[in-house]
């Protein structure tokens, strides 16, 4: 177990480094000039910053300076467009995205998995068809349509909910719902497929032959294996949810992390870009690890340690 986690973490470091390499060269290839920002940074400051972050050095040197600064000083550089340290930007916006993401995740699991189970149990009935049609709507109607609709239909009519903004405890509800909807739809489909797959296995017939009630057959024998595809999906999906969504943040004016991805890419803010990309990579690696550990707990055949083979 320990060896497995250690191995995966070392592997993760390699992945992070590869990720850094790719973003580094992409950032360098981007057209335009850093430090051309809305905030007026004086020429001397620019020179100073260039020197500080080694932007005046040749590319190979720059390639090495950034990660070594992260390791030695935990310094992720300064956002050239915002004029603030990248670390502060992440430290400020990540908690917001985390709350939003946790809410979205609760919606996704709370709605998606029960729908998937009900659909699988009532396979090919009108209940199944209508639930799956609803799930399809969740997949086919973009968040930038659902978000505004929710604002008009719900936020405007329900007291306590605001159309947009962040600050009150209830403010996370609508954006979290919007963000979680797509995942809920995918989860519903994955859970349905997974449970159906398990329900077609021979050991389910054994369970029936033992005289178990249909409910017990599904809960005790069907669910455990049936949830495996959903668990595998949830790892990366959760990482994506807690690292923010530009669209949802824009619609509901949430000061999360998603905006920085897009803004950094647009304004050629290379430190911010590399910082958030590495942070996202880190989240993905951790979530994948957690979902693998969960898979091992659910499925004794891939118990960790053996999985390393």
């Amino acid at each position: 177990m320990f060896r497995f986690i250690l191995g995966r973490l070392l592997q993760g470091l390699l992945v992070l480094f590869a990720l850094y390499t790719i973003t580094f060269f992409l950032a360098k290839a981007m057209p335009g000039e850093p430090f051309t920002t809305e905030k007026n940074v004086s020429e001397t400051t620019k020179q100073y910053l260039r020197k500080l972050y080694g932007l005046d050095k040749p590319l190979p040197a720059q390639y090495i300076i950034y990660p070594s600064k992260i390791i030695t000083d935990r310094d992720f550089g300064v956002s050239t467009s915002k004029g603030r340290p990248v670390r502060d930007i992440i430290a400020q916006s990540f908690p917001v995205s985390l709350i939003l993401g946790l809410g979205a995740m609760s919606f996704a699991i709370g709605i998606g998995i029960p729908i998937g189970i009900i659909s699988a149990v009532r396979k090919n009935s009108w209940v199944d068809w209508s639930l799956m049609a609803v799930a399809m709507v969740g997949i086919c109607v973009p968040a930038f349509t659902i978000g505004p609709l929710l604002q008009i239909l719900i936020a405007a009519n329900v007291p306590g909910l605001k159309v947009a903004g962040w600050g009150n405890p209830l403010d996370f509800l609508l954006p979290a719902f919007t963000l979680g909807l797509v995942s809920a739809a995918y989860l519903a489909r994955l859970t349905r497929g997974g449970v159906l797959e398990i329900l077609s296995q021979d050991f389910i017939r054994t369970a029936h032959a033992k005289g178990l009630s249909p409910t017990r057959v599904i809960l005790k024998h069907g669910l455990r294996g049936g949830l495996l595809p959903s668990v595998a999906y949830l790892g990366p999906a959760f990482a994506a949810m807690i690292s923010g969504s530009f669209i949802v943040e824009t619609i509901f004016q949430v000061p999360g992390m998603g905006q920085h991805f897009v803004n950094a890419a647009i304004s050629r803010d290379e430190f911010l870009l590399m910082g958030v990309a590495l942070f996202f990579g880190f989240l993905i690696i951790m979530m994948n690890l957690i979902s693998d550990i969960l898979t091992g707990i659910l499925d004794p055949r891939v118990r960790i340690g053996k999985a390393a083979q």
């Binding site: 930038f144 349509t145 077609s200 996202f280």
Partner: protein
């Protein structure tokens, strides 16, 4: 034995097609999608200029002149939807084609090679999968758009192409690549898994025992057997790409004016949602119908190709 003439057998493709024919939702989806494609690529040429601005006729209601009314600049909505659909559907199809080409080749080579090369190639896929897709697409778009405007002016200068047309073309081509370059990852994994299991099948061993070389085994015996899952997955990828294009366009990062796409139409419509909901709802319906039909089609294909569903 008998002197009968050989009767034609029923191939797996034909069987799958017959099974699919019995799936009403999938057949209806196929019909809807064909109709939309026909409208966007056939009917559109006979429609009004989608970019003709008539400021005197803003927000017109549907009429014989403008079947679905006009938008905030008095442009014909119907014609804009059809022209926008061209871009959206093309982005979906071409990006899928790019990712199928890369994904099938990569996955097949990785799975067939096995051992260390396979492990390395799969680590690369894992790494690429942990890159924030949206960020890379945006950056790639930015990188490629410099290249695209250069190319555009070069083509106009040297080949005397129509400037508007060339600009429109070079504006969307980077999008195909940006999407296609990252869309192949999942497909590569699927194909690899298929190849790995096919490699152990006895007909491949029989082929080796018969002395067939690696190329014959890979291209005649293994890859044709991965095509079913590939077709299914590709069908389900198209709506994903259409959605990505819409998202990027909504962010103002995808298709640029004067091109339009469904993403742009929805974005424009959302601005006037409270006063003229039709501008959001009509493009939204086209968009969602296309995605619906492709998803149901993909589900139908998956059921039709499902090995377990076939006999014995």
């Amino acid at each position: 034995m008998s002197e009968k003439t050989p009767e034609a057998g029923s191939s797996l493709w034909r069987d799958a097609w017959l099974r699919m024919g019995k799936n009403k939702a999938a057949m209806a989806s196929l019909g809807v999608f064909t109709l939309i494609v026909f409208m966007c690529f056939g009917v559109a040429w006979f429609c009004k200029d989608p970019n003709a601005v008539t400021l005197t006729n803003k927000f017109a209601s549907p009429s014989g002149e403008h079947w679905m009314g006009t938008d905030a600049l008095g442009r014909d909505l119907f014609s804009r939807i059809l022209y926008g659909g061209q871009i959206s559907i093309l982005v979906g199809l071409i990006a899928t084609a790019v990712s199928v080409c890369i994904g099938v080749t990569y996955g097949a080579v990785s799975g067939f090679a096995g051992g260390r090369p396979d492990a390395l190639m799969m680590r690369i896929v894992d790494t690429l999968l942990s890159i924030p897709f949206l960020v890379v697409v945006i950056v790639l778009q930015a990188v490629l758009s410099v290249w695209s405007s250069d190319t555009s002016s070069w083509i106009v200068q040297h080949w005397n192409w129509d400037k508007t047309f060339t600009d429109r073309l070079t504006n969307i081509v980077p999008l195909f690549f940006a999407l296609g370059l990252f869309g192949w990852l999942t497909l590569a994994r699927i194909v690899r898994a298929q190849v790995m299991s096919l490699k152990e099948r006895e007909f491949v061993e029989a082929a080796r025992a018969l002395g067939y070389d690696r190329f014959r085994i890979l291209f005649r015996h293994i890859i044709p057997n991965t095509l079913g899952p590939t077709v299914v997955y590709a069908t389900l990828t198209v709506p994903g790409f259409i959605m990505y294009e819409a998202t990027l366009s909504f962010l103002g990062l995808g298709v640029e004016a004067p091109n339009s796409s469904w993403g742009i139409l929805i974005k424009e419509g959302a601005n006037f949602m409270e006063t003229h909901p039709a501008l959001l709802i009509i493009p939204g319906i086209f968009f969602s119908l296309t995605l619906f039909s492709l998803n149901f089609l993909g589900d139908g294909l998956r059921d039709a190709f499902d090995v377990k569903a076939s006999k014995d």
